[in-house]
Subunit: 353 residues, 2 copies
DNA sequence: TCAAAAGTGTTATCCTTACACCCATGT
DNA sequence: ACATGGGTGTAAGGATAACACTTTTGA
């Protein structure tokens, strides 16, 4: 039994903005907490280590968790958070490997914050990073990413076959087909977390190799007699393409956030938290596309948001645009009172890939 | 500053079953943590004090939070939980009033569990209680509860007018109309938490009076110069009809659970966790009705679940029924693989009230 | 004049809702 | 026979998705 017997509460914030058509996530750089030597194609991540912003929960100072997050985010980055939502509380054993050397169990309460633009931060080594550099398989705006068929699926198939009996193979196959789609199903863009967890379990993300190396593998389901996953060239190539790692289980927290945000788009008007007061319909569409990771059908998108009375036109028009000047719209706050679930709707373009 | 400077982690479980057409919640009875003298119509709650089951999080013994919940629930009640989902983490100052006398800040991680039937518990003073006795205004199966128009709305209107300026009154009015519906909006049965919080703030539930009496009012927004809410006869009558209180903020946790469960019905096949392996469509409908709190249109409900391929018929039929024997159906697990959001759909009957 | 974007119109199709009706069994 | 619940048919209305097309600007 390696379990810690005390615990500590931390707060983690996933702070999201959308700029230049990409979802950006605020990260902080810091010295690595745990840096085992990693095999060659993964050493590109060896120099700099990024984490989600985090801070302690101080019961004496913080009346609520929300206020706690707001307060240290402002201190650390100068950002004044608008929309803020509790995500999930993470507390798995060994999520912080310092437990292995006597450290306490760290319970982290994850938060999702949306800010209007990626202003530069106040002080401290914070940096806005494109969200899809952590999840390259999630961005379908230019069609299905090739890596899904060339790399992920073959590796997952191999992982399925490494299970120790037919029943376990079937379970793995079912999970893969739910998470990554199949003939009859298709891609469900909300299942970000399920996909990340599957890749972690299948040993296809850097964190998985790292945690394994230091004896702190998160998912213990595989203590069973499943065959270990050989670290051969194919798997190494795969590992080099599955995106940028984060410290501890922060990429899992980020996956939780992206999945939640994608789900929420459909039934709550959260996009507007990321847009200026007045915006064009194209801007609105591009923000939705950036977050949902799918390309949208322009005409139908416009009609949906207008028919659903989510926005109202203003008198003004954009001038310095490339084509015909667009009307500026604003969010119609009254929908909140009128409709139970005022989301944006995701009329996806047919995927050509 | 009355803030505690240390904290402790607890786990709370909302354990739900549906029996005899009512959603049941497992509660434990215990000596009151805080029992101020309450005005007359409220003393019916003075004898016995109920709370949600809770237990400590033990980092040494519990590999994950989920496993922690499962383990002490089994110990305390003998129940073997099936479906289990993390709800929310509660940590507001004074949520446990023992903080006022030097106790630590208690951070509670709330869980929702669904069990197949309300079997009697193992040991300990646990009891299954009808969920709507905590939220009488949430049960619309026999039409709109009269109390909404006769009691809640008048009292909320009064509360709106107690705000100190026009802007605050407008904010309150908007919140009321979103939570409780209005001409253009209607009742959104998922907003259970918003409604409970509004009633708490407006001083219309017992907990609000209790917490005020001991100086631990949860929502501090009203430290402002809003007029206090007079505790006159009308308000006392209202308080006597707004349902059974729970210890601490457990009714808030319960409201969170019910809201989440109602939302989830629509896009995840969670109902089946509450039903036996094989069931009739009427049973299925009644469970959905019990949870969502609305009556459903029989024919359309049947077609929806069948067309959506959520269930498949078995060979067997029920025999001891009143009318024609019904086919027994079972959950079609394959939908999980086939459709992204396999929920039940809520084709409500027109409300006649 | 052309590219780039804004914006309109029109279908086919599917899903939902509502209503009407018949069927099988126990009392 | 009739009450109770099981079960089917159908048609109207609305929302969505797919398509084709026009308009207004800057370069």
């Amino acid at each position: 039994m390696t379990g810690a017997t005390s615990n500590e509460i931390g707060l983690n914030a996933v702070i999201v903005a959308v700029t230049d058509g990409a979802p950006r996530v605020l990260t902080v750089e810091r010295e690595a907490m745990t840096a085992p030597a990693l095999p060659a194609p993964l050493d590109k991540w060896a120099d700099r280590h990024f984490a989600l912003p985090f801070g302690p929960f101080e019961p004496g100072a913080h009346r609520t968790l929300d206020l706690g997050v707001r307060s240290w985010v402002e201190e650390q980055t100068g950002l004044n958070l608008g929309y803020l939502e509790q995500l999930y509380t993470f507390a798995d054993r060994h999520r912080d490997p310092r437990e292995l050397v006597g450290g306490p169990r760290i319970v982290s309460i994850g938060y999702l914050a949306l800010v209007r633009e990626a202003q530069p931060h106040g002080e401290g080594p914070a940096e806005w990073i494109n969200g899809y550099s952590f999840f390259p398989w999630e961005d379908w705006r230019d069609g299905k990413p090739a890596m899904i068929d060339t790399i992920i699926h073959p590796q997952l198939d191999r992982w399925i076959n490494l299970a120790s009996n037919a029943h376990k193979r079937a379970r793995r196959a079912e999970r893969v087909s739910i998470a990554f789609g199949s003939e009859d199903a298709g891609w469900d863009f909300e299942r970000v977390l399920e996909r990340y967890e599957l890749l972690y379990e299948a040993g296809l993300v850097t964190e998985s190799v790292r945690d394994h190396a230091i004896g702190a593998l998160q998912n213990h389901a595989d203590k069973s007699n499943n065959a270990p996953i050989p670290l051969d060239d194919d798997r190494l190539t795969a590992l080099a393409t599955t995106g940028r790692p984060l410290e501890l289980d922060h990429r899992r927290i980020l996956a939780t956030a992206l999945g939640r945000l994608r789900g929420k788009l459909k039934y709550r008007p959260v996009v507007f938290e990321l847009l200026p007061d007045r915006f064009t319909l194209l801007q609105l569409q591009q923000v939705v596309e950036a977050l949902s990771g799918v390309g949208l059908h322009k005409q139908n998108f416009r009609r949906l948001v207008i028919n659903n009375k989510l926005v109202e036109p203003t008198e003004d028009r954009v001038t310095q645009s490339r084509g015909r000047p667009a009307k500026l719209f604003r969010f119609r706050r009254d929908v909140l009172r009128e409709r139970p679930t005022p989301g944006v709707g995701i009329p996806a373009r047919r995927v050509t890939g």
